[in-house]
């Protein structure tokens, strides 16, 4: 007797074309978002915002309406969509360069206004698409194409701890930082992504999940080494956990 053990989420296109490098965590993150959209039953009522970076080709795999934002402006675009169509489910899928560097102003102010949207941020401590330059989340000592001798505090300061900053904003309703380095971590990440959408659906405020993700290509590591890095030095600086949860409080 046949038994269905795994099914591609409806929120992923049948003819999807994944544009990410082998071993990269983006694919898992995208799948989790798609599964959450399916489970919440909101796929047909969702408008996604594609950002600039590795995430720009979101429409190649998400089976939903999508509008592309200029670099860093996803949460401003999301604001325009959500305010104009308040009954729609609106989310952004952004990298750390997009959300935390060029777009930090839009990020903070959208959340300050408590926009009823969900923001997913992939933090891989580098600008992946342009070839691995240093960004605001690059760790001290990390070698990149623009910090060839390692990031030095006296030259480029400290890594920005996005979840810690955003939890202080009154308009956020759910803030968490997760990893994707083990089956348990992936299950936990999905729960958090779901809550970040529930924050929006319940009208509590902005839901935010920062995903510590691998970039084996630019880190010049195998996927296993890359996940070890996430578990090790990345998690030491960017502590995984739930930083704010008004969703559970509201239950």
């Amino acid at each position: 007797m046949e038994q269905l053990v795994y099914k591609k989420p409806d929120s992923i296109r049948d003819d999807f074309r994944i544009t990410f490098c082998p071993g990269c965590d983006h694919g898992v993150a995208v799948k989790l978002v798609a599964e959450v959209l399916d489970e919440l039953g909101v796929r047909e009522n969702t408008i996604g915002i594609a950002s600039v970076g590795c995430s720009v080709f979101s429409y190649d795999f998400f089976n939903i309406d999508i509008v592309e934002a200029p670099h860093g402006r996803s949460l401003a675009v999301a604001t325009g969509v959500k305010r104009s169509k308040p009954d729609k489910v609106v989310f952004t899928y952004q990298g750390d360069g997009d959300l935390a560097s060029i777009g930090i102003g839009e990020t903070i102010h959208a959340m300050t206004r408590g926009e009823k949207v969900t923001a997913i941020c992939i933090n891989n401590t580098t600008y992946g698409m342009t070839g691995g330059q240093a960004g605001p989340t690059t760790l001290i000592g990390q070698v990149t194409t623009t910090t060839t001798k390692g990031r030095k505090v006296e030259i480029s300061g400290y890594p920005l701890k996005v979840a810690e900053v955003l939890k202080e904003i009154d308009g956020t309703a759910f803030v968490a930082r997760v990893t994707l380095d083990s089956p348990q971590a992936i299950m936990n990440a999905k729960k958090c992504i779901k809550k970040a959408f529930e924050a929006q659906l319940k009208g509590l405020g902005t839901g935010f999940v920062e995903i510590l993700a691998t970039c084996p290509t630019n880190w010049k590591m195998t996927p296993q080494q890359a996940h070890a890095r996430v578990r090790g030095e990345m998690s030491e600086v960017f502590r995984p956990g739930i930083y704010k949860d008004k969703v559970s409080e509201a239950k």
Binding site: N45, I47, I49, V56, A76, R83, K88
Partner: protein
Amino acid sequence: MKKEKELLKGNYAIAQAAIQAGCQSYFGYPITPQSEIGEYLSEKMPENGRVFVAAESEVAAINMLLGAGSTGVKAMTSSSSCAVALMQEGLSFIAGDEIPCVLVSVMRGGPGLGYIYPSQGDYYQATKGGGNGDYKIVTFAPSSVQECVDLTYKCFYVSQKYRTPVCLLADGMLGQMMEPAVVGEYPYEEIDQSSWALDGAKDREPRYIASIEREQETLRKRVVKIFEKYNQILENENLFEKYEIDGAKLVITAFGSIARIAKAAVKMARKKGLKVGLFRPIMLNPFPEKIVAEIAQKVDGILDIELNCGQMLQDIKASIAGVASIPVEFFGRPAGMMMTVEEIYEQIEIAYKKIVEKKYGTACI
């Protein structure tokens, strides 16, 4: 429903017209000399069940407009000069995405912060743009408070009909002055946006609004298609004013607020027997090159008058190149200074003597 004539400030006229046109979402950041638009809409939009968001910057405002426009609603922002400069990236995306929306640009003196007085220094900014790639921002320039109303309506209509960003290009004088105007009913048909707008992929294929395109040939075709649209807009939506053009030997070209003052100077010249006319383009982009060329073939010369150092002047010259070999004189005043009727008349006289009567002297500009 307002149908009576009332004494209205230009900025309020634009804001009231936006409400009347059915503008659903407004995003803005304060800047003089247009702040009254946002102030008015901050109260009236929520009262009418519509959206007002005080954006944290003009960069955010233009991208909120992108998002709102992508859902097919009528959406608008308003700003001025150095702040419109911040919107150029967003405008390029909006044009590439073919998203309908309206930008009200109330010009002040520049460059940089300049100051808040009326100027036409942003003709280039509006019509040539600072965003990347091949695109145009369709631009209409009012010269009275009544035209602020009528052209706000036109901007919404053209933006929705052709799925393109449209700019209402006013200046500090129009924004701040009061004169009688009627904010009547929105005179255009509603254009259905449901065939392309984003509202969730229910019982249909998902829709993507994006400027990125990996296939070169597809991208080329898309840009060519957008430019075909600009041709249609020029053909179908062009607006201009011709005054005393027939039999004129010298034609004044001017747009917006200064065209009004120039018109008074033309009347003065006519009274004194000078054969002078006025051509005022109301749609500045796409530029009505053919009409300028036709006029140029019938006159001895053109005197272009602008509140800048000669910006539309370049479009006038380009329009007549290879068509008419006539002199194009220029009288401009940059940085937020108006001209009087007498000053313009004086320049008309100088140009007339030089071009029509062939009496060359020293032109004082």
